[in-house]
Symmetry: C2
Subunit: 309 residues, 2 copies
């Protein structure tokens, strides 16, 4: 399907529900609300279905108030797998009419699908679709799309950023999106607890294998009461350190296991490292699960790092 | 003067020296080397004059080897004031033929000047000039300009980022600049000492005025042996914390004084705060200098914060 064909389908239908994934992020929310706003402009009814509305994204979620109606056309945005619908999975599995996504790994079962894995964010696709629909890209829509694109690219820092990403960002700035506020909220605000956690994690950081490996960990006690959004990104800390080839993050889980994330700069195979412990992933980012005491988990990882590096 | 007129002047002249500012950053180095590469393409001789070549910027500084010749035309790039030439000030003051800059506060005394304060980075101006010169924007030039633009905008995060910035970044990616490597080097690498300093600073952070003010400090002991590039950006830590209206950073200086930076989110006047201590600046970022013991400096700032907030 082409964007043009999707636009035709949307124009021919009405009473939309737009599904986002669980633990919603800037991309799925930005897409959902931008598309709902555009469809409403065309005189259609459109609601956004989320499992949660984190307050960080209020600038997006405050733009649309859901109305009561019986949905006739279900769209999923940025959802790679029905499983990721979370609490909405049972209700919507098998009922999705159109799936729009940028994950090459998409396995959603839907009669109409548009997956563009070259898009850095699903927001890029939704931007193209809204223009094709002939809707005006209002300031609210621009804020939704700028949030979608900037958050999925780490503010244009990740390798998925392309010249298309930059061109769309330019258009959104020209339309008047509030990039200043969005950047402040998304990339320049940390809770006090998050700052304390970072301090804690750095305090307890362990270097091994001639400083080529850095290990950090969080215990349940350390992250007590913190949301996923508050602990996100911690795993990038050890790998950022100059000279560190392998950065390891250990997270204690409620089921007495330890979830391990390994990140490398490409010279070291993080996937091979995790396979030693029955895990897997990519060369630059992989994971595995270990059991035992925290000390024994650390010792096992240190020994494996010494052998690998 | 227009970019077109500057291009004409450069084509009519030869044997260039391009001056950058002291404590050179990505923007001045990127501009200097990109312009030298472009002028050399046109068959001219061009050297870049720096007080230092920090190893972080090797991708830029390795592109041009200075040659021996008597300069006939001196250009300054990204230099707002002759004072900022540092060790090169005496030699070049009064000899600059053309000044290219993006600082509205530019006071350089030169017969030819081009100051575009709307440019997020001087690199945007140099990009326009190189295209006007008819030089090919090679991969090396694109790397220099991408570094210039990305570093001066905090990777497109700061408020100076415009749609022009994004459009130029798109062009540079299309040309094939190595944004992945540059982003890794500029925004995703910290020295071990830097990480230790951050931990140290967080360990000693002080909250006051109902947590609306956060104070951090560095002593000479804490930053011993660290370069300016390693301690840069520390002042942004306290202001990032949710709920903090005024973030204060105290730096012990070798002359027994304490340099204080105050950053606010705009609701609080950082300039008025610093004026209490004989300093000044902008509403969002200001500074002052205090003397005494570290403890007495902290107490004075806490008392002033309690009154202000």
């Amino acid at each position: 399907m082409t964007i043009k064909e999707i636009a035709v389908v949307l124009k021919e239908n009405n009473d939309f529900e737009i599904l986002t994934h669980n633990y919603p992020d800037g991309d799925c929310l930005g897409c959902g609300y931008a598309l709902a706003l555009a469809l409403r402009q065309l005189g259609k009814r459109a609601n956004v279905i989320t499992t949660d509305k984190p307050k960080t994204f209020k600038i997006i979620t405050s733009t649309v108030e859901n109305e009561a109606f019986e949905p006739k056309f279900i769209i999923s945005v940025d959802v790679a797998d029905e499983k990721l619908l979370g609490a909405n999975e049972d209700k919507y599995r098998g009922r999705i009419d159109l799936c729009i996504d940028h994950h090459g790994s998409n396995v959603v079962d839907a009669p109409l699908k548009y997956v563009d894995s070259k898009a850095a964010a699903a927001g890029e696709i939704i931007f193209e679709l809204i223009k094709e629909l002939g809707a005006e890209v209002s300031r609210d829509i621009a804020n939704c799309l700028y949030t979608a694109i900037s958050t999925d690219t780490g503010c244009f820092r990740y390798v998925n950023t392309t010249s298309r990403t930059f061109r769309y960002a330019a258009e959104l700035l020209d339309i008047g999106c509030d990039s200043e506020l969005i950047n402040k909220l998304m990339f320049d605000t940390k809770t006090k607890r998050r700052v304390e956690l970072e301090r804690d994690v750095l305090d307890k950081m362990i270097f091994c294998a001639d400083d080529k490996c850095a290990i950090i960990y969080t215990t349940l006690e350390m992250v007590k009461g913190m949301g996923d959004d508050e602990t996100e990104g911690i795993a990038s800390i050890p790998r950022q350190i100059e000279g560190v080839k392998l950065g390891i993050t250990i997270r204690e889980k409620p089921d007495d296991t330890y979830k391990v994330s390994a990140r490398s700069n490409g010279d070291v195979d993080a996937c091979a490292f995790c396979k030693r412990f029955g895990g897997g992933g990519h060369i630059g980012a992989a994971g595995c699960t270990l059991t035992g005491t925290l000390d024994s988990v650390i010792e096992q990882l240190k020994a494996a790092a010494a052998e690998t590096l």
